[in-house]
């Protein structure tokens, strides 16, 4: 299958420290892919580099077209949307305003309402919280808002950076369940996770990152025990 997202030889640095070394990976249409790795492996850096949030070298293309290397807004316009680590919601603004900003590039009131209705169907709680200040939501609700806001951009591929961070298992399940649903609907998803077992339950393929390098590509079906996974981490 031809890949929708293709990352070739992507490197990035913070000052003199290289945080990402020549990463190449690809995501096929409709795929649910995980990016795993321990603390500081470079998972977030990889997401930021794909979106062009930090200076990087290499190439990222989406549906055959090369994405400009330092223009996050162009990536969003092309349908590549990231839910960043720590959610990045606009805490002093209302839930409604956050959702509106998610659809910043859209200028069509009817389509806006359609997208919002779909988000409410997925996260009914957001409808109840519309007028509330986003910063006053619970952690789980904030993560739902972050995902909902990303969906307002009508992504053609959705990247998520540790959406489970700091959430109770029940809420995490709820959000990951929604992601599975979206993926069933045809949306390709890249999920960054530190907690590998969580991600491997859902995804069809996983990349393992360690100190800025791609060290393995895992087929979750072949991973049957914790020990096997631990071996990957340690090797």
């Amino acid at each position: 299958m031809t890949p929708v997202l293709e990352v070739r030889q992507l490197s990035a640095r913070y000052g003199r420290v290289e945080a990402l070394h020549e990463i190449s990976l690809s995501v096929a249409d409709g795929e649910f892919v995980a990016v795993l790795g321990p603390n500081g492996a470079g998972k977030s850096t990889l997401m930021r580099a794909i979106m062009g949030l930090i200076a990087n070298s290499g190439a990222v293309s989406f549906r055959g077209a090369v994405l400009p290397r330092q223009s996050p807004d162009t990536c969003v316009a092309r349908g590549v949307v990231l839910v960043p680590e720590g959610r990045g919601i606009f805490a002093p603004m209302t839930v409604a305003e956050n959702l509106e900003l998610g659809a910043y590039l859209l200028n069509d009131a009817d389509e806006f309402e359609r997208r919002r209705t779909r988000v409410f169907d997925l996260f009914p709680r957001l409808r109840e919280r519309l007028g509330q200040i986003a910063g006053s939501l619970s952690g789980g609700e904030q993560q739902m808002l972050a995902v909902g806001r990303a969906l307002m951009a009508n992504p053609k591929i959705l990247l998520l950076d540790e959406p489970s961070l700091g959430l109770a298992p029940k809420v995490t399940d709820e959000i990951l369940g929604t992601l599975a649903l979206l993926n069933k609907g045809g949306l390709p998803i890249v999920l960054v996770e530190q907690k590998a077992p969580l991600a491997l339950r859902l995804t069809s393929r996983a990349y393992l990152l360690s100190v800025g390098r791609l060290v393995a590509e895992i087929d979750p079906r072949t991973i049957t025990s914790h020990d096997e996974l631990a071996r990957y981490y340690l090797s």
Partner: protein
Amino acid sequence: MPDLSYLPQIALSGIAVGCIYGLIGIGFCVIYNASGIVNFAQGAFVMMGGMIAYSVLNTLGLPLPIAAAVTIVAVAAAGVAIERVVVRPLWDRKATMFVMILATLAAQIVIERLALIVAGDQPKTLPQFTDLPPIRLGVVVISYQFLWIVGVSLLLIVLLGQFFKRTKAGKAMRACAFNREAASLQGINVSRMLALSFALSAALGAVAGVLITPTQYTAFNVGVPFAISGFIAAIVGGFGRPLGAFMGGIMLGLTQSMAIVAFGAGLKNVAALSVLLIFLFIRPGGILGEAK
């Protein structure tokens, strides 16, 4: 002991000039919020406001409202030009705040010297907007220009509030103020917001310049003192909070005008800087507390 019956009158003039400081302070906030940049060319916008209005009025002979409108548009364009020529190249290289302050201050000085070359060193003034005798209310005399200054300032604050609250561009600017990276992940072109913030601040500065010039004068070198006062207003208000900056401006204007009467005009800036120091000591977050 100065005659206390003058006090209300002095307060009025303090409020008027305070509104001007407040508008300039808001200009600082708008740019700072959109970008984290402290733009010291802010004073140049005020100076250009007065000077350009004067030339348009006197050389082109346009009526005052049209001259004011032309001036505001021209100064907003100058703001965008400064953003493009001076700020953007440094911004793209992730220059530090100190570099930005120096660069914008340099831009201020260049504009000031250009104004000197083009317009000469003679002070200029504008006619009062409404040529009627002032209103007398007991011991106080209220000039129409005072009403213009206060009225336009309040109107601008209301409009600005609506802009940030209701329009898409305003919301996008607030999003940038809170988290630029997250804003860019929504598809917001952050550097276009930067240009917009410069246009907006420059327009505010121009309005301030056009409003205040009839009560005093304008010259190539009025920019820096206005920038300093506006900067103090912004700090006193809690940097990045437009409403706070406006309140800070009025407080500063009042303090200055009281100080002029009590100690003489020479101590006006001492009073201004004292306000700043006192605030930095007792309430470093400003009147409304620090933004963010």
